[in-house]
């Protein structure tokens, strides 16, 4: 009797669960049609099914339990984002719920919970049949790629990889051997060829030395849904081979169910195996075109030298002991507590809010000041002042807290660089010792992502053109092993990265000769060039784009690109070189792009913001200190001659003459970046303010000299001057092209 009552209760509860399930699934379907994702809803469905499974097991309704179990697995896939919510997935789920209802009803009537549809449905719930895109907890580790490779991907690359994996796009590894002397071009050409077929996600030097020393070997992660045959016919050549990257794992969890149904499904600890021990291989059930992974560079060269390759860890069996179901579920949640992955745009949003608060702080400060002037309000004044102070302190703390969250160590980029060094060095038959210091120096995540390419460029140049050949080094009495020192450190609000080699140094005469030959400078001009001027020539576009790059003994491969990239980050590149001793590239970067302290300046009635990090000093312009040198205005400041630039003219603003006696009063703001200085003449100094730089729209992309804009409060927007770009524009004595009005670009440092 009693057991009967319990049984009734079970059926009732089970029926309720199934009803709820059906309702939630419908809601999920609606939401999916509407294009939204409903993780909470999926979670609810998952929990209902989990409960149903437990109940069924309790009442020995084995088939019901088995179906619930498979269903639970699929729902888990959905909720963890390993499986997309597609109409066909939803169909299968609906069928399963219907079936559950039928089986339950049958069992309630005292019949068996068997149903003819059960086996076929079980098969269709198999993820292979349900959807091609089967993606694991960390789906990236499911790709047959060395986890170390995955770790050094930039966020963008990782995101693209993830998206492609998620979409089920087949991944390929293109191994290309490209001529080292025209590597940039070769990569461009390869891009042109490959783009129509798919997406190039990331490049890695393989570190392998091709027999032909003029070739450079690259591995490229490539996502493409084009048929393999088409890729082969369009891309494959003697210098490029295509390998499909297998996707490992997942299917194993359900295959046993489909092929050998049994109530006690072996609880294969798939999720744990994948997420905690990502490099443990699993049986490869996905169709694989080529058994490439055994010799894969993705598998065998972690920067640490640790061998994580597939064959070492014994391909095939899953060596992790099975874990009970509940533990598996709980370990998910407990792991989630410790770290959170945040979209950087959310942090940007918080920064925006903070900048609004900074404006409030300004108003508060002004009010506090006003109150202080009123003796009768003295009591309030003290209180307000204290409040203001507290607010100030907390705001500053919050600001630095958010900035800190965005910071990542430079080591991420340096690891990548180490691979490049190894490869280029072997290519050139040079022995290079890479000495890295300050890998734990932190910079803004966005900056780190953009740094990888420029740094690789510089290092490649150092090995290629800087470090001498072994016989030469011996002859000069240098150690056979060349040294490249990579040094990063923080200096105030900047991060400095130095790349120093002990090579031959730059030969200014050859550089000048090359520039003259290329028509970048006139022969007569060249005579006046100092060594430093000559070195700056290396950064001119056009210096190295010709094909005969290799006949240069100096540097110059794409250094203009390096400079542009660094400039975009608000940084500057400097080069110092001593013949026979070596060359040092110094990159100076702002620590963060998100918020910065700016000097607000007035130019002809407009307000501009100038990042304080680039301002050396600001003083009143003494008209008697003005001089003209070859038609250019300079000012002598404490015995130093400083080229100046009148911002109102540069920006084409008509001079505002308000008739006041200060009409002719001006200030000089000295901009100093990476050893170069210029004075900007402005009419007002409004003081300092923390600003958040916001990008200008794409329609203003062609406008040079501004890093963005910022809210100044009271609905007003001010442009943020890109000091590095202006400095460059004004100081590059050699730039001949593209400068409007001919007014700028004539100053010499």
């Amino acid at each position: 009797m009693n057991s009967h009552g319990v049984r009734d209760e079970f059926f009732q509860e089970a029926q309720e669960l199934i009803d709820t399930l059906a309702k939630d699934l419908l809601a999920l379907e609606m939401a999916t049609r509407g294009g939204s994702e409903e993780p909470e809803l999926i979670n609810d469905v998952f929990r209902s099914v989990h409960t149903l499974k437990g109940l069924s097991g309790l009442f020995s309704l084995d088939r019901l339990a088995r179906l619930s179990h498979v269903l639970e697995d699929r729902l888990d896939d959905l909720r963890m984002g390993r499986l997309p919510v597609t109409p066909s997935t939803l169909d299968a789920l609906f069928r399963a719920i219907e079936l559950l209802g039928r089986m339950l009803a049958s069992a309630r009537r005292g019949g068996s919970d068997n149903d003819p549809e059960l086996e076929s449905l079980m098969v269709s719930l198999n993820p292979q049949a349900a959807a091609p895109a089967v993606v694991a907890v960390d789906e990236l580790f499911e790709l047959d790629i060395d986890p170390d490779i995955v770790r050094v991907l930039t966020e963008m690359e990782e995101h693209r990889l993830r998206t492609n994996v998620r979409n089920g796009t087949p991944m390929y590894r293109l191994r290309a051997r490209l001529p080292i002397d025209r590597i940039d071009r070769a990569i461009d050409e390869l891009k042109q060829r490959a783009r129509p077929l798919g997406e190039l996600i990331a490049y890695f030097p393989t570190g392998d030395l091709p027999a032909d020393a003029t070739l450079f070997e690259l591995d490229i992660l490539f996502a493409s849904s084009s048929p393999f045959e088409q890729l082969q016919s369009r891309l494959e050549s003697g210098d490029l081979s295509i390998h499909r990257i297998a996707r490992r794992g997942h299917s194993q969890t359900v295959m046993p169910v489909a092929s050998a149904p049994s109530v006690e499904e072996p609880s294969i600890p798939q999720k744990l195996a994948r997420s905690e021990v990502p490099n443990v291989p699993a049986p490869l059930l996905t169709q694989r075109v080529e058994p490439m992974q055994l010799d894969s560079p993705f598998a065998d060269q972690s920067p640490t030298g640790e061998n994580r390759s597939l064959e070492r860890t014994n391909g095939g069996k899953t060596p992790v002991p099975p874990k009970p179901e509940e533990e598996r579920a709980s370990s998910h949640s407990s792991r989630a507590v410790h770290s959170v992955r945040v979209d950087i745009r959310r942090l940007d949003h918080l920064m925006n809010v903070l900048s609004e608060l900074a404006i409030v702080r300004g108003a508060l400060s002004r009010m506090s000041e006003r109150v202080r002037q009123r003796p009768e309000l003295r009591e309030f004044s003290g209180e307000l002042h204290r409040l203001h102070r507290t607010f100030d302190r907390n705001l500053a703390e919050m600001q630095s807290g958010i900035l800190e969250v965005r910071m990542v160590p430079l080591g991420q980029v340096f690891d990548r660089l180490a691979r490049g060094v190894r490869q280029v060095a072997r290519q050139h038959n040079k022995e290079i010792r890479l000495v890295v210091t300050g890998a734990d120096t932190e910079v803004d995540k966005l900056i780190v992502e953009e740094l990888s390419d420029p740094l690789l460029h510089i290092v490649r140049n150092s090995i290629d053109h800087g470090i001498e050949t072994q016989p030469d080094r011996l002859a000069y009495g240098k150690p056979v092993e060349g040294t490249i020192a990579l040094n990063a450190f923080q200096a105030g609000n900047h991060v400095i990265i130095e790349i120093e080699d002990d090579g031959a140094g730059i030969d200014p005469e050859r550089v000048i000769a090359t520039a003259v030959r290329r028509g970048l400078i006139g022969a007569s001009e060249a005579e006046a060039y100092s060594t430093q001027d000559a070195i700056n020539l290396l950064f001119l576009p056009g210096f190295s784009t010709r094909t005969e790059v290799t006949d240069l003994s100096g540097r110059g491969v794409g250094l203009d690109v390096v400079k542009t990239n660094i400039g975009r980050l608000g940084g500057v590149v400097d080069v110092q070189s001593e013949r026979g001793i070596g060359t040092k590239f110094t990159i100076t970067l702002p620590i963060s792009l998100a918020i910065l302290r700016a000097l607000l300046i007035g130019v002809a009635g407009r307000t501009y913001a100038l990042p304080l990090s680039s301002v050396a000093e600001a003083t009143l312009l003494d008209p008697r200190a003005l001089r003209t040198v070859e038609g250019r205005e300079v000012v002598s400041l404490r015995g130093e001659t400083l080229p100046i630039c009148r911002l109102d003219r540069l920006f084409g603003h008509a001079e505002v003459n308000d008739g006041s006696r200060h009409a002719s009063r001006h200030f000089v703001v000295v901009i100093a970046l990476g050893g170069r200085r210029i004075g900007m003449v402005v009419s007002e100094l409004f003081g300092q303010q923390d600003i958040v730089i916001k990008a200008l729209g794409p329609s203003l992309a062609g406008v040079r000299g501004f890093a963005g804009a910022t809210d100044l409060g009271d609905q007003r927007v001010g442009l943020v001057i890109d000091a590095a770009a202006l400095l460059d524009e004004l100081l590059s004595a050699n730039e001949r092209r593209g400068l409007e009005g001919g007014r700028v670009g004539r100053y010499t440092a």
Partner: protein, 171 residues
């Protein structure tokens, strides 16, 4: 149904008239005394001209930038974009926030008139009216036969709307 007020009935009739098949909504405005319209679907918002910060070295038809709820937005002077001369802003001047090709842009216009719902029959192709020498930014000529929602004084006969193709105009 039976309890509908006269006002509701009028509204229903107007909606029935206007919601005829395939009618598309356009927002009408004035530039240099000519009547223009753009697809209403592309218009996000209509603003009274906010204080604009000019951007040195930008193309001449760029009026400047404004901050719309924290978002830096470029404002174009549509007079200049359409080749009319510059004119000072008036009380009627408005900025349309429109979805451009890859960003939201502000367009300064002399005056916003009304929303038109045009049936295909009320749109003439440009070439039949003006020949082939018309800029590609003109998508057609609208001749609304039904009066607009705001019953204005124009009779439908003298209303001629230049329908702008924003994608091409802003491209």
């Amino acid at each position: 149904m039976s309890g509908a007020t006269p006002r509701e009935i009028r509204g229903n009739r107007r909606r029935a008239l206007a919601s005829g098949e395939d009618r598309e909504e356009y927002l009408g405005f004035v530039i240099d005394r000519e009547f223009y319209a753009v697809s209403l679907a592309l218009v996000r918002e209509i603003l009274k001209p906010p204080p604009v910060t000019e951007v040195p070295r930008s193309p001449p038809d760029v009026l400047g930038i404004v901050s719309v709820r924290g978002q830096i937005t470029t404002v174009l002077d549509l007079r200049l974009r359409l080749g009319a001369g510059a004119a000072p802003q008036t009380l009627h001047s408005r900025v349309l926030l429109v979805q451009g090709n890859d960003e939201v842009l502000g367009l300064l216009v002399d005056e916003v008139t009304q929303v038109y719902r045009l049936a295909p029959a009320e749109i003439e192709s440009t070439s039949s009216v003006l020949g082939n020498n018309v800029g590609s930014h003109v998508a057609g000529i609208g001749r609304p036969r039904v009066r607009g929602l705001r019953n204005e004084q124009h009779s439908s006969d003298d209303e001629v709307l230049i329908l702008l193709d924003l994608a091409s105009l802003l491209g």
